[in-house]
């Protein structure tokens, strides 16, 4: 039987046992500005980060490359550390993205089976390079014209 109107309005209320651990990572300078603005808002535990550099490390498998990131308060952290307990990673990029940044994040998420999404802000030019850099690695790519669309999207994803 389909739910009645009253039943659809009333659902058993229970707290989210585990809050989702989201990492929002800016891949270039313009995206970093966006992330900085976002990080000032109220979120449900999401962490806002800025990609800094690729970091080659010794070893094999997905440990071969790592990356340094900056947190919202400016301290340095490692991609590998940030992804340890992450459920979802959202990369934010513009047409100025460095392809290797997209590749490192994408590979790291894929190797750890972390859900990944890419938000690409289209500027004056078509962000073709950013799109093809992110394409192999993000389960979802969203090409946006308007920065103001980002907060509701992140809210919907429970960041």
């Amino acid at each position: 039987m389909a739910a009645t109107a009253a039943e659809a309005r009333f659902r058993i209320d229970y707290p989210d046992q585990t809050t989702r651990a989201s990492r929002i990572i800016a891949l270039d300078q313009q995206a970093a500005d966006v992330v900085r603005r976002l990080s000032g808002q109220d979120w449900r535990g999401g962490r806002f980060l800025v990609f800094e550099d690729v970091l080659p490390v010794n070893g094999s498998g997905h440990d071969q490359v790592d990356a340094t990131l900056r947190t919202a308060d400016g301290s340095r952290t490692l991609l590998s550390k940030e992804l340890e307990d992450a459920d979802v990673a959202v990369a934010i990029a513009t047409e100025h993205v460095r392809p290797e940044a997209a590749a490192v994040i994408g590979d790291a998420c894929a190797a750890r089976m972390i859900m990944s999404a890419g938000l690409i802000l289209a500027g004056s030019e078509q962000p073709d390079e950013a799109v093809s850099a992110l394409r192999p690695n993000a389960m979802v790519l969203l090409i946006l014209q308007d920065e103001n669309d980002i907060p509701p999207i992140l809210t919907a994803l429970r960041v």
């Binding site: 039987m1 389909a2 739910a3 009645t4 109107a5 039943e7 659809a8 309005r9 659902r11 979802v88 859900m115 990944s116 999404a117 078509q126 073709d128 799109v131 093809s132 394409r135 192999p136 993000a138 389960m139 979802v140 790519l141 969203l142 090409i143 946006l144 014209q145 669309d149 509701p152 999207i153 809210t155 919907a156 994803l157 429970r158």
Partner: protein, 430 residues
């Protein structure tokens, strides 16, 4: 997850609601042309955007869509007599033309008659036939947009077929099913193998080999393009591209040489909608076998409770759930037919699903973006009177596509032509 206020805003379409005002900017499917087959055919009750209306076709073939209830004492004009260029109320004989203008009050003395008549006019909306559908515009007459130019409605009649069914849930829930490309690999997996309107296409093998597509969502002038890609031959992706034109039009990516399928999701009221389902071929007539399959309820169509637009499989009979077929692997959900597989699950959520309780994931991004665009269009219209995307007939000229392209190409660039209506040119489909 959506805030309660926004869920209410997007799902309520009655007169005076913000979303209702948005819907009243567009030409909407009001009924099938077949429902008024001849001049002076019996009038048809039509409920749209929570307004109760009556549609009729007068002795000269003019279509009218007017208030269902007589101005005199509120009797339903469905009981009326459609005769001599007007619809006459069965109670005291008041008569109305297709514009809702009262043209006769037979109970009044002759002298009073004409002055009284002139002052009585029922609410009415323009109703026009394009293709197999009668379209209504329920907004401000001053802002009447150009007539719709959807390809399914403008190709020669032998190339197109449209059906409609009553769906017992809010329009947005139904629409969201239309842009949720990730459910196809699961819910509809059986149909790819045996539905007469899908099976055997080259593209199906990519679908069945790779059940977890990746998605790209790109904004378009009229709405969105949602691309789902799967691995194809070396160095290539198989892309299935779904256009959504605001607020309520979607196309399904085609398969092989089969016709393109698509939908309109039209609010009846806040807890019911009409699902219009159509199939059209861009360059050739539909074959007799295809038409028969459509009439039999295959593909996006369905069977009916005789004499109604209610699906034969409905919530009162649990959609004729067949657990054995499910076990044998013929259907994923146990429900027969693509249309009812979708409708059964969407109706099961309740008339208006509580979107504050969802747990959306990244593959729901198309839905998230569509809601965001609707919400922005509603605000822009309400606050600044901005004409929303999808009103302009240029926005109607989109196609869906199923293409194989090199991995490093953006589908939106590689398929720009394929996603645009080109009359006389076959649609892009593998």
């Amino acid at each position: 997850m959506l805030k309660q206020e926004i869920n209410e805003l997007l799902t309520q379409t009655g007169p005076g609601t913000p979303m209702g005002d948005l819907f009243r900017q567009y030409w909407l499917p009001a009924l099938l042309a077949d429902e008024l087959p001849d001049n002076d055919a019996p009038p048809v009750r039509v409920k749209l955007l929570s307004e109760r209306l009556i549609a009729f076709r007068d002795s000269e073939g003019r279509y009218g869509l007017i208030d269902e209830f007589c101005a005199h004492r509120g009797v339903s004009l469905w009981f009326g007599r459609n005769e001599e260029s007007g619809l006459r109320c069965a109670y005291h004989g008041w008569k109305y033309d297709v514009t809702g203008q009262c043209i006769e009050v037979p109970s009044e003395p002759d002298e009073r008659h004409s002055s009284l008549c002139k002052k009585i006019k029922l609410k009415s909306y323009p109703l026009v036939k394009i293709g197999d559908v009668l379209w209504a515009y329920m907004g401000d007459p001053e802002k009447t947009p150009d007539l719709p130019e959807w390809e399914f409605a403008t190709v020669p009649p032998e190339q197109t077929y449209t059906s409609k069914r009553w769906q017992e849930c809010n329009w947005l829930q139904a629409l969201e099913g239309g842009i949720d490309s990730s459910h196809v690999s699961w819910l509809h997996s059986g149909g790819l193998r045996d539905d007469p309107l899908f099976k055997g296409a080259q593209g199906n093998k990519y679908n069945l080999a790779d059940r977890r597509p990746f998605f790209e969502v790109v904004e378009a002038d009229g709405g969105l393009f949602i691309g789902a890609r799967r691995n194809a031959e070396e160095g290539h992706y198989y892309w299935r591209i779904t256009p959504w034109v605001m607020p309520n039009f979607t196309l399904i990516p085609p398969r092989g040489d089969y016709p393109i399928h698509g939908h309109f999701w039209v609010p009846i009221d806040d807890e019911n909608c009409w699902t219009y389902s159509f199939d059209y071929h861009t360059v050739r007539p539909l074959t007799e076998a295809e038409l028969q399959a459509m009439r039999d309820g295959h593909g996006v169509h369905n069977e009916y409770v005789p004499g109604t637009f209610r699906p034969l499989q409905n919530k009162d009979n649990d959609y004729m759930m067949d657990r054995e077929a499910q076990k044998r692997g013929e259907t994923y959900s146990g429900i027969k037919g693509i249309a009812m597989q979708d409708a059964s699950l969407q109706e099961s959520m309740g008339p208006i699903v509580d979107r504050t309780k969802e747990k959306l994931v990244s593959t729901d991004t198309g839905i998230i973006m569509a809601r965001q665009k609707l919400w922005k269009a509603v605000e822009a219209l309400r606050d600044e009177g901005v004409r929303p995307p999808g009103v302009d007939a240029e926005h109607h000229k989109v196609r869906s596509a199923a293409v194989v392209i090199p991995k490093d190409q953006a589908f939106i660039d590689a398929s720009r032509e394929a996603l645009t209506v080109r009359p006389g040119v076959r649609h892009a489909s593998v």
